[in-house]
Amino acid sequence: MSRFRPCFETTRATSLLAIVGAAFVLASAAGCAYKPIEPWVKPYERERLADPVMKTSLNELPGRQQDHIYTVREGSRGATGVQGGGCGCN
């Protein structure tokens, strides 16, 4: 069966991402020649960031329920931070 590939936009987007990746590598390599940037938030200043109020969810299982509901009913998927578990979405 012929492969269905109507969207050239995806190829352009992928190329753009590859260019951004290459730019990261070059910028990082160039940065090695200079004094590295010091972390500007010290470990003892991160107490607020570790507080439970900063989490999206306290538990792991509700995220799986939510991800499954969206994956079955919407055309979009991915980039949610929840690992795929496979489903028969018949």
Partner: protein, 369 residues
């Protein structure tokens, strides 16, 4: 070829991110146990069941996890009641995982098996997490491979297979002592039987079996930020969160997801989490409510139509018992309302665009130890 291109893209981004500064040790996930009852009720579908998860570390380097998730589905959705008969079935999913600290990295490997009477899915996940730049930047690189077997009631054996490759990259950056930002990129390649043997399309007003392409390449990019907005001297802590995801694929679907969240501690032991979520998409190139001409590919899958959904959600958690440094036990309850609207999917019973409302509930009893 697409898989190689996706891997190269992600590797390029990770290479750049990892090169930005020194590395620092990462932590194992905390030991925990969860038990959940979940319910989805909407559009004639009721999916409910229990789920359990346990995670335990050993030797300070390894953490093992296992979870079991049950979806007992009673399906009388519009597809089913207009072209077939109501049915019930159960999906069981088993996950086993291992996290391992190697030098300055956390390696996560897990396997998953999802079982339905007419669908089997086996998935392998591998993720590498590394803190860089003095612990201010966390980079996660992941890969998943899934093999599915597709069946059909009344037909012995399997009628098709499908394979899925997922490549993901996540970067979380501490911006200030109060704010973090993250970016997640995921590329998914599907190959094989990607439709449903039950679903029907309409051509010239006549129902025919749908025919989907056998390949699909998808990408999604999510940007998010979370900030602590607790006032100086305030007793109760609060935070806000904003997320946006853009999705695009070779089937012509473009999706936008926006989510805003607000969390707040209400009293000692009490935490409230709230959010609103909006999603919209345009239809796939071969989607048609009622195709005016015969084409090679045609579907009337609502998931691929022009649609949007919107709804708020909230979770309330209470700490039942806490012994600092030893364990704590929490009970939480969540509710979410979702309003689905389809612009080009007609309810054949009324002749109007289809829409429905859904209620999502879960309660979780969890313990960390």
């Amino acid at each position: 070829m697409a898989a190689i291109r996706n891997a190269a893209t992600v590797a390029g981004l990770v290479g750049g991110a990892l090169a930005v500064g020194s590395v620092q040790a990462v932590d194992l996930p905390e030991d925990r146990a969860e038990t959940m009852y979940h319910l989805y009720d909407g559009g004639g579908v009721i999916a409910q069941g229990p789920a359990v998860l346990i995670r335990k570390s050993m030797l300070d380097r390894v953490s093992l996890s296992a979870s079991y998730y049950v979806d007992a589905v009673s399906n009388a959705s519009i597809d089913v009641v207009t072209t077939a008969s109501k049915y019930k079935e159960t999906r069981d999913q088993l996950d086993l995982g291992l996290d391992y600290v190697v030098r300055d990295s956390l390696i996560h490997v897990s396997g998953s098996k999802s079982m339905e009477p007419d669908y089997l899915a086996d998935t392998l996940n591998v993720d590498l997490t590394q803190d860089v730049f003095g612990g201010m930047t966390t980079v996660v690189l992941g890969y998943s491979h899934a093999d599915d077997k597709v069946g059909q009631h009344g037909t012995p054996g399997w009628i098709g297979t499908a394979h899925h490759e997922q490549y993901r990259l996540g970067v979380t950056q501490i911006l200030t002592p109060r704010w973090t930002a993250s970016a997640n990129l995921e590329a998914i390649d599907d190959d094989g039987y990607l439709g449903s043997p039950y679903r029907l399309a309409r051509v010239f007003g006549t129902y025919v079996h749908e025919n989907d392409p056998t390949t699909r390449e998808s990408k999604a990019l999510k940007l998010s930020t979370t900030g602590d907005i607790t006032g100086e001297g305030a007793t109760n802590r609060s935070s806000v969160r904003a997320e946006y995801r853009y999705y695009w694929d070779t089937w012509g679907v473009r999706g936008h997801t926006l989510e805003l969240g607000y969390n707040r501690t209400l009293a000692p032991g009490w935490l409230a989490e709230t959010f609103v979520r909006y999603y919209r998409q345009n239809h796939a190139l071969f989607y048609s409510d009622n195709a005016p001409e015969q084409t090679l590919y045609v579907t009337r899958n609502r998931e691929l139509s022009t649609m949007h959904d919107f709804g708020p959600g909230a979770t309330l958690s209470y700490t039942l018992k806490s012994v600092p440094g030893k364990y704590d036990v929490k009970l939480s309850a969540s509710y979410q309302f979702i309003d689905f609207h389809y612009a080009d999917y007609t309810d054949v019973r009324t002749g109007k665009p289809y829409s429905y409302k859904a209620n999502v509930l879960n309660t979780v009893l969890s313990a960390t130890f």
